[in-house]
């Protein structure tokens, strides 16, 4: 355990929503400060919100903290407070040692100057003396793999070269605290690997690292601990895996919300539309022949019998469908099809297919229930569609797309990080043997 590098206590920062308001409040604050009045920094005025709200954490040297959160959750603002750009409106943060920030690689590069001249500028920005930069120059040139290009004006650099040089200066200056905002996803694969190696080496030699990233892979490989931020608050503070889980769940919820908003317009009527187009159906409208209508579709937790929009990983559930039949239907088939965010029709539930034929159904109101005992969705967002068909008729008697949406949450037991696009989980056991005994 190294010595303490960062301690943040109750850090908060507020912003105004509009520029105009920001100017008004700004002038107000300025006047207050100049008059030496105590300022009301710690309360919100109309139109203001907490961009960072009461964040606490401690980081020791040699440790890495990963910060995750969807866009606008306050990550960058927090990093800027740590870097001394914004003064907190509440709370305090203490940072020990020289701080290097890679808040966007290549800050302060002057386009007209050569790479070498820019290294001097950038190095001095990171708190090095001219002599120290001179001593590091060969190393920086070698690491960035720029070779003779180092004497070319940086305006002629490709974006990759730009970033490589910026990273080389920041990483090789060996700061005591390194703040990074989404900079690992740059350069080609070889360079990325080199960056990871360099970062891990910095960690071993005692640099405390704060890494903001949307990439669970980067966070998982570099960080020991994490913060998950939502609306400025640190919702989860703890192990990296917990943070990645929280981030993934939040993303699923946002995906559901976005999809819901998108199809709200068409779906709000709720009435059956006779002979509607497939486009209307895709927007969430109920379409059909008028023989049958589903009035409600819900996912119900098996345990509590309550309608839910989130399920745990592998949690059993019921599908409940309320159906009003207007005309008798022979060989009635109820079919539920689920989509994932990136794939259509990943699973179907069809009573005929699964050996439960229903036969003829007379007019009236019915409630159908499908008991799903061993679902194996991977964590993510899923959308349900329901259809009524008859074996004897080749068309849908009724179709209701996007009738329900659920989020399957990340499990505590597994850390399902390998591929966000994967949708199905297979239980499996793993073993291996070595084939040749010696060489």
């Amino acid at each position: 355990m190294g010595e303490r590098a960062i301690r943040a206590e109750g850090l908060s920062k507020k912003f105004g929503l509009t520029l105009r308001q920001s100017m008004k409040y700004g002038l107000h604050d300025v006047a207050r400060k100049l008059l030496g009045r105590r300022n009301g920094d710690d309360v919100l005025r109309t139109g203001e919100f907490w961009a960072v709200d009461d964040v606490n954490f401690e980081l020791r040297s040699g440790q890495a903290l990963g910060i995750m959160g969807v866009n606008g959750s306050g990550k960058t603002t927090l990093l800027r407070i740590l870097n001394g750009v914004y003064a907190p409106d509440r709370g305090r943060v203490q940072i020990r040692g020289r701080v290097g920030a890679l808040i966007a690689a290549g800050a302060g590069f002057a386009p007209m100057l050569s790479g070498r001249e820019n290294v001097y500028i950038n190095g001095s920005l990171l708190g090095l003396t001219t002599k120290e930069i001179k001593g590091l120059m060969d190393e920086i040139v070698a690491f960035s793999e720029l070779g003779d290009f180092i004497d070319l004006p940086v305006k002629n650099y490709s974006s990759g070269m730009y970033v490589r040089l910026g990273f080389a200066v920041a990483a090789l200056s060996r700061p005591d605290v390194l703040l990074m905002d989404e900079v690992l996803a740059v350069g080609d694969l070889n360079f990325q690997k080199k960056c990871f190696d360099q970062i891990l080496q910095l960690k071993r030699s005692g640099t405390a690292i704060v890494l903001v990233s949307h990439s669970p892979g980067a966070i998982w490989s570099v960080c020991d601990r994490g913060l998950f931020m939502d609306h400025g608050r640190a919702i989860v503070e703890g192990g990296v895996e917990d943070v990645v889980r929280a981030y993934d769940d939040q993303n699923s919820r946002n995906a559901v919300a976005a999809d819901q908003q998108f199809s709200q317009a068409a779906a709000n009527s709720g009435e059956l539309q006779l002979g509607a187009s497939i486009a209307e159906a895709q927007a969430g409208a109920k379409v059909g022949t008028g023989d049958v209508v589903c009035t409600d579709f819900r996912i119900v937790r098996s345990e509590s019998e309550a309608r839910v929009d989130e399920l745990d990983f592998r949690e059993p559930f019921f599908v409940e469908v309320d159906v009003t039949i207007m005309k008798p239907i022979d060989d009635f088939i109820l079919r539920v099809v689920a989509d994932a965010m990136h794939y259509r029709n990943i699973v179907t539930l069809d009573n005929y297919e699964q050996g439960c034929p229903i036969g003829r159904i007379e007019p009236g109101q019915y409630r159908f229930r499908i008991d799903v005992t061993d679902q194996n969705f991977r964590p993510g967002a899923y959308i349900f569609n329901v259809a009524v068909v008859s074996r004897k008729i080749g068309v849908h008697l009724f179709l209701w797309l996007k009738c329900a949406r659920i989020v399957v949450r990340n499990p505590r037991r597994y850390f399902l990080y390998s591929d966000p696009m994967a949708v199905v989980f297979f239980g499996a056991t793993y073993s291996h043997v070595r084939l040749e005994s010696s060489s």
Partner: protein
């Protein structure tokens, strides 16, 4: 193919024990404390400031046909119009004891330095917004980094001035070596005003241009391009009580004639300058935390 690079060298960077604390400050800091802070931060960031100066200086002259010659040409073209107006009789500068081109050259140089000091310091934070947002260089350092180029321009102007004197067959007074010191107060005044503007101007962007317009009007009640000896007693009084009168007149008289026209006026004006600088620094430190989020 990427080259394989072995990095074995030991870190050659000395470990410095710095502890930074950023916290919500409820009450205002004392005026002496802010001066102390400013001094400490400027010293701490001296390397950065130097490199930023070199950056601005070199970048300003690359890809330009005349390159560094610009520094010499600019002031000369600047006085051409005044000399033309004086020659044709449109402008009557009053009786000057020195050739008019020299008079107006020193006057416009000193005045230009004053306005440049205000605008560069005032726009220092906005121009370096990128660095304010991404690095932890003290903000006061970024605000004053432009002053270095002003000093440099002043030196070049001095060389041009000596040449100009030579053209008129005159030698500068021996006291001319104190010329830079005599110009210093007006630069410091500009910096002090600029510091206040840099923080307030970042919140309300048009403030600086408003003030510069106003300052340009003040030039007409200051002996810059003419002696400002008005017959109207009220105007006379204003010119006498205008501290800028002494800040412009003193360097010129010192350089050419080796005398200070009004030592009392210069001393009083200089005290006012120091007071303004102190006020500027104090205001800057009180407000600077409110600036970053509005850049």
């Amino acid at each position: 193919m990427p080259k394989m690079v072995e990095i074995v060298s030991e870190p050659t960077i000395k470990r410095v024990e710095i502890i930074r604390t950023y916290e919500a400050v409820g009450t205002a800091q004392g005026p002496l404390r802010t001066l102390q802070l400013a001094g400490g931060e400027l010293y701490w960031s001296r390397h950065v400031l130097w490199h930023l100066f070199v950056r601005d200086f070199v970048a300003g002259f690359r890809q330009k046909l005349l390159g560094y010659l610009w520094i010499v040409l600019m002031p000369l073209t600047g006085i051409a119009s005044f000399v033309f107006m004086e020659m044709t009789g449109i402008l009557n500068p009053g009786s000057t004891e020195i050739p008019y081109p020299i008079f107006v050259f020193i006057g416009t140089t000193v005045w230009g330095t004053f306005v440049a000091a205000i605008t560069t310091v005032a726009s220092g934070l906005i121009n370096n917004a990128d660095l304010v947002m991404r690095t932890n260089i003290p903000k006061i350092g970024l605000a004053v980094t432009g002053l270095a180029s002003i000093a440099y321009n002043l030196l070049i102007n001095l060389a041009v001035l000596v040449l100009l004197m030579g053209l008129f067959g005159r030698l500068p007074s021996i006291w001319a070596i104190f010329y830079p010191l005599a110009v210093l107060p007006i630069v410091v005044l500009g910096a002090g005003v600029g510091l206040i503007l840099s923080v307030i101007g970042a919140v309300a962007r048009d403030l600086t241009s408003m003030l510069v317009t106003l300052i340009n009007l003040v030039m007409y009640i200051t002996p810059v391009v003419y002696t400002a000896q008005f017959s109207n007693p009220w105007l006379q009084l204003i010119v006498r009580w205008n501290p800028l009168t002494y800040l412009v007149d003193t360097p010129r008289a010192l350089f050419v004639a080796g005398r200070v026209p009004s030592p009392t006026g210069f001393a009083l004006s200089t005290s006012l300058v120091l007071f303004t600088l102190w006020g500027g620094i104090h205001a800057f430190y009180l407000i600077k935390d409110k600036v970053a989020e509005r850049l």
